[in-house]
């Protein structure tokens, strides 16, 4: 299924998601409001996106952009879902109830970005030690143990 068919399919099934859809670098992208993320994810799962490929976040400076990559085996298509959360109240609904795959991936995002996922069954640090201070993938993470690489370019 190519990207236009995907857009048509999406628009016919869920018209309210249609205006949020755009195409970047050949991938379908759905930018939703953080409060509506869970509903949109649920709709997309019903549409046939049965695999959650990836959950990650990007620190854009003043806020976090959550990026979900969904895949559909039937449609042979992938789609991005993006949602932005404010930096000071970094919290979003968990999609673990829709895809169990989100369990560890959301834990990883929590560990490295400090974004809390409401409704996650077991939100703990996963990669770093339990007593780690800070969230390293934030752009403002400070750690005395980091030695900056000299700039060669």
């Amino acid at each position: 299924m190519n990207i236009n068919e995907l857009r048509e399919h999406l628009c016919s099934e869920y018209p309210d998601l249609c205006p949020l859809f755009s195409v970047e670098y050949g991938d379908g992208v759905l930018v939703v409001d953080a409060s509506r993320l869970h509903d949109a994810a649920s709709d997309l799962r019903d549409l046939g996106f049965d695999r959650l490929g990836m959950v990650t976040a990007v620190d854009t400076g003043d806020e976090f952009e959550l990026v979900y990559r969904l895949q559909s085996r039937e449609m042979h298509a992938g789609i991005f879902v993006k949602a932005r959360v404010a930096r000071d109240i970094a919290s979003i609904a968990s999609v673990t109830d829709l895809w169990p795959a989100a369990n560890w991936q959301e834990r990883e995002v929590y560990d490295l970005f400090g974004i809390t996922f409401e409704g996650h069954p077991d939100l703990r640090r996963i990669l770093l030690t339990d007593d780690w201070v800070g969230h390293p993938l934030r752009k403002d993470y400070q750690d005395d143990r980091i030695i900056r690489r000299p700039d060669y370019i």
Partner: protein, 364 residues
């Protein structure tokens, strides 16, 4: 119920395939709960990439999945190429396919062998590893390194095939399928190995999809999903190959599928060598310093462990703003608590082995 024992396996244990710690709650010999504790090899590669240029990140991707370095190279390069709009010459695509299928063989030899070692058949491991050594030798002739190749670069590959390499490669693919049949008889034909692997750690197709499993782990459960065929990339549509599928989703199917995938990889390599034509191996006119326009890109390939994706965010500078590796081993390993429950401690290590995690990739 008797008193439960908590056994701590790892982080350094012969059958954790690296540095995984599994906290197992045992009722007698039966596992009631197994919790993998990962992150013992978390080196912060994603953070490091933010202070490297696009080309300097390639060696870092080598160290992700150190059993199959070519895959991470390739997935990363595909994401960069998508982001920067680079067209890769055809010969380079063929070479990438050849080296990645060789890498699949090398990686699966490690996976099958360690399944053997987990069940106690150490000799099978040796036989599998001998095959892996042939592949490693081919790679050494190709790029000088045995393990961390840094071969696939944005825009192509670092250098052309050396003289005589194609013949060596053909010699390897000619003998490999028969070696696989021998290994099949030695390991999977053995009555004890069958008893140990069959019916252990059964993963249903629904669970495999819901938990985001991919690669042989999902295909062992009959999930017919292979990116090489279902989301074709590079020159894969030009090859004729089968995707082996399991039926029961147990450790036996997961492990044995890897063996048949190696045989299929040999077919792909042979076809690719036949179709290989002279030409450029690196796109022309590449700038020394890549600085793609702002935006983000994701691309994935079918690695030996499943769909390996790289998500790149660019802010227009010569360094990636954010790199995220979607690691198949990470998602597959999340299945361990689900699969191990109700089995014995002996089965736990077999299940862990059949998921074939590589902790460089799990922890990143």
């Amino acid at each position: 119920m008797t008193e439960q024992t908590i056994v701590n396996i790892g982080p350094s244990h012969p059958s954790t395939h690296g540095v995984c710690r599994v906290v197992v709650t045992l009722d007698g010999e039966i596992v009631t709960h197994a919790e993998p504790i990962i992150g013992h090899l978390h080196r912060g590669i994603e953070k490091m990439a933010e202070n490297r240029t696009y080309l300097q990140v390639v060696p870092l991707t080598d160290r992700l999945d150190y059993v199959g370095s070519m895959y991470a190279n390739w997935a990363y390069c595909r994401a960069v190429e998508r982001l920067a709009g680079i067209r890769v010459p055809e010969r380079a695509e063929y070479i990438r396919v050849i080296v990645c299928e060789l890498q699949r063989i090398a990686s699966h030899m490690m996976g099958i062998g360690s399944t053997g070692a987990d069940t106690g058949a150490f000799t099978a491991f040796m036989y599998a590893f001998a095959q892996r050594d042939h592949v490693v030798e081919l790679f050494e002739a190709l790029c000088g390194a045995r393990l961390t190749y840094n071969y696939v670069r944005p825009g192509g590959v670092s250098m052309d095939l050396p003289e005589g390499w194609v013949e060596k490669c053909r010699a390897f693919t000619a003998q490999h399928p028969s070696a696989m049949l021998e290994l099949d008889r030695l390991l999977f034909g053995n009555v004890i190995a069958r008893a140990r692997l069959k019916g252990v750690g059964v993963l249903s197709a629904e669970d495999a999809v819901a938990w985001g499993a991919s690669g042989p782990t999902a295909r062992g459960s009959g999930v017919d999903w292979d990116l090489r065929r279902d989301d074709p990339y590079s020159v894969y549509p030009r090859f004729d190959f089968q995707v082996p599928l399991g039926e029961n989703g147990d450790s036996y199917d997961r492990a044995r599928i890897r063996l048949w995938e190696c045989v299929e990889s040999c077919k792909i390599i042979d076809q690719a060598l036949d179709q290989l034509e002279p030409g450029l191996v690196k796109a022309e006119g590449l700038p020394r310093l890549l600085a793609p326009r702002p935006g983000d890109a994701y691309d994935h390939i079918e690695s030996a462990r499943g769909s390996l994706g790289v998500y790149l965010v660019s802010d227009g500078t010569p360094r990636p703003y954010r790199m995220k590796v979607r690691s198949p081993a990470f998602c597959n390993l999340a299945l361990l608590p689900l699969l191990a429950e109700g089995h014995t401690l002996s089965d736990l290590v077999v299940i862990l082995g059949s998921l074939d995690p590589v902790f460089g990739e799990v922890d990143r």
